[in-house]
C-alpha cells in the first residue's frame, strides 16, 4: 500500500461484480422507466406515479415501514441491552438469530395457522373469555409478523455497538455523580446510536418493499410499493411502470441511507460523543 491512489489488481473482481450486478441493473431499471408498453420513449410513467393512487400507496408504504421500524427499535433496544448483561451472550444471540434462517414463506404460512379463527392465538383469547377475533388479514397481524421477521436485524447491530462500550466509561459517569438515567442519556445512548442507525437501515428499507406477507398475512388489504412492482412486472407486463416505481424506491432508499449513515468513522469506539 505505498501508493494509495492506484487500484490494486486484486480488487478487479470486486469492481467487475459491482459493475455487472449493481450499476448495470440500476441503469437498466432507469432505462426501462422511460419506456411505454410499445417500447417507445415516454415520460408518462413518471406522470402516472404522481397520480393519486401511487402517491397514496407511497405514503402508506412509508407509514407501515415507519411503524414496523419504530416497534422493532422499541423491542430490540432493551433486548440488546439485556443481552450485553447476560452470561451466555453468544448463546442468547444465536437463539435470536436462528429464526431468520427459516424461509420467509414458511414463517408466513405458520402465522396463517397461528392467527386463524381456530388457531392458538384465538384459543388463548377464548380462554380469557372473549369471542374469537379476526386477527389474520388485519393491520395488526401485518405489523406483528413484519416486526417478528425484522427483529433479529435490529437486535444484532444494536447489540454490537452496546457491547463495544468500554464499561470504564459507565463507571466514570457514575463516579462523577450521574444518575442511571443521565448515564444512559449522555453516555450509553450516544455511543450506541450508530448501531440503532444501521438497524433502522436494515429494517426500514426492506419494510418499504415487502410484498409476500402483504398478501398472505394482510390479505392484500395493505398495499405497498413492493406489491405494485410485482403486479406491474408479472401481471400487467408493464415493465416501464414497474421500473418507474423501482426508481423511486431506490431514491427513497438513498435518502434514508444518507439520513441514517454514520457521520464519523469509528465513532462508537473512540468515545467522543457529540
Amino acid at each position: 500500500m505505498t501508493n494509495r491512489s492506484s487500484r490494486p489488481w486484486y480488487l478487479a473482481p470486486y469492481y467487475i461484480w459491482i459493475l455487472l450486478f449493481v450499476i448495470a441493473p440500476i441503469a437498466l431499471v432507469v432505462y426501462f422507466s422511460f419506456l411505454d408498453l410499445a417500447g417507445d420513449f415516454t415520460l408518462e410513467n413518471y406522470a402516472n406515479f404522481f397520480s393519486s393512487t401511487y402517491f397514496r400507496m407511497t405514503l402508506s408504504s412509508f407509514w407501515y415501514a415507519f411503524l414496523i421500524t419504530f416497534i422493532s427499535v422499541l423491542i430490540a433496544y432493551p433486548t440488546a441491552y439485556w443481552l450485553t448483561k447476560t452470561k451466555h451472550k453468544q448463546l442468547w444471540l444465536l437463539l435470536i438469530i436462528i429464526p431468520s434462517w427459516i424461509n420467509l414463506l414458511l414463517k408466513a404460512y405458520a402465522f396463517i395457522g397461528i392467527f386463524g379463527l381456530y388457531g392458538p392465538a384465538n384459543q388463548l383469547i377464548q380462554f380469557f373469555g372473549a369471542g374469537p377475533l379476526q386477527i389474520l388479514f388485519t393491520d395488526f397481524s401485518f405489523v406483528f409478523v413484519a416486526v417478528y421477521i425484522f427483529i433479529p436485524f435490529m437486535v444484532l447491530p444494536i447489540f454490537n455497538s452496546l457491547d463495544k462500550i468500554n464499561p470504564a466509561l459507565i463507571d466514570a459517569s457514575r463516579d462523577l455523580g450521574a444518575s442511571q438515567w443521565t448515564t444512559f442519556r449522555r453516555v450509553i445512548f450516544p455511543l450506541a446510536i450508530n448501531g440503532v442507525k444501521s438497524g433502522v437501515q436494515a429494517v426500514f428499507i426492506p419494510a418499504l418493499s415487502l410484498f409476500v406477507i402483504t398478501r398472505l398475512i394482510a390479505g392484500n388489504k395493505v398495499i405497498t410499493l413492493g406489491t405494485a412492482i410485482e403486479q406491474q412486472f408479472l401481471v400487467t407486463q408493464n415493465w416501464g411502470m414497474g421500473s418507474t416505481i423501482a426508481v423511486f424506491l431506490i431514491l427513497f432508499m438513498i435518502i434514508i441511507m444518507l439520513l441514517t449513515g454514520p457521520k464519523e468513522k469509528g465513532g462508537a469506539l473512540n468515545g467522543k460523543a457529540k
Partner: protein
Amino acid sequence: MKGIIRASTAIVIISAILFYAVHVLESSSATSGSGSISVYNWGEYIDPELISQFEEETGIQVIYETFDSNESMMTKIEQGGTSYDVAMPSEYAIEKMKENDLLLPIDQSKIPNLENIDPYFLDLPFDPGNEYSIPYFWGTVGIAYNPTLLEGQTFESWDDLWNPTLEQEVILVDSAREVIGMGLNSLGYSLNSTDLGELREATDKLKTLGPNVKAIIGDEIVEMMRREEAAVAVTWSGQAADMMWINEDIDYAVPEEGSNLWFDNMIIPSTAGNVDGAHQFINFMLDAEVAAQNADYVGYSSPNAAALELMDPEVTGDERFYPTEEMRDRLEVYENLGLEMLGVYNELFLEFKMDMEK
C-alpha cells in the same frame, strides 16, 4: 495464509464432490427411451400417477414444472432460455401467444384421441380449427359458500355478496380480470368491457363491498374455506370442487347475471425441443380412461365426452360443475383485450384494493 489456502482447497473439493453427485443422480434417473419432455402446467392440475404411467408406456421422461398465472407463464416462455414442450394456458393467453408467434401448430393426425372431445369445445373463436390448442379442462367463476356458517343465505346474484350480514366473510381471488369482471357482471355489463365509464362504475361499486371483504388471496383460499375460516369465496369452479372434496358442507353457485366461462388448453410452445414427444403426451392425456382419472383427481370439468361416460354420473350430472349448454349461454369467455386494457384493469384493481371501504 496457510489457513486461507486450506479453506479454499476444502471448498473446491466439496464443490467438486457435490457437482459429481448431482451429475450421477441426474443420469441415473433419465431413462434410455426416446428422450424427455418438459410439461409446464398450473399447480395441482394433473394426477401425478398419470405422469408415471406415461413414462412407463412411452419411455419418455417427463420434467414437470408449474406456474400460477397465465401472465407469468407467457413471460417465461417469451424470454426464451426454456424448452417447455407442452403448456396449459387459458384461452385469452392462447390468443395472445398466437399473436406473438409463441406457438407451434399441432399435427392432428398424431392425436387420434381428439375424437373423444365433445365437439362443443372444439373450433372455438380463440383458436379456429384447433390449429394450435387442444382442450384440457374447462370451468366457471362463481361463489363457493358454506351454508352452515350462513344461516341459510344462498347466492343467486352477485349482489348477494353485498349483504350486510356477510361482514368480514368474503374472500376474493387475487386476480384483476375475475374481480373487476364480477363488478361488471353485477351491473349487467360484459366482462370484456373496454368502456372506461363502465369500468369506473364497476370499480366504484366494488369499493362498497369493502366491509365484507376478508382478504384477497390466491390458492390459499381452498385451505381457508376447508377450515371454515371464511364462509364465502369468489373463485374458480375447480377450487370450489377441491374445497368440497374435504368439507362437504360447502356449496357452489354461478350467479344469474352471468360469469366467466373459461377453457384451459394444451399447447406446444415455439421453444419446444421434443415436438414428437409433446404430441404423444397430448394424445395420452386425451385417452378416455386417463382423462377420467385426471378429472377425478383435479376436480375441474373435463371436455372429454368419452371420459365422462366412464365417470360417476353423480359428478358429471352435477349442473354446478357441468352446466347445461343453455346455462353456458349466459356465460362469457374472456377475450384478449391487449396489454393496454389489461393495464387499465390492473390499475383499477389496485385502486379497489387501496380504497376499499373499511
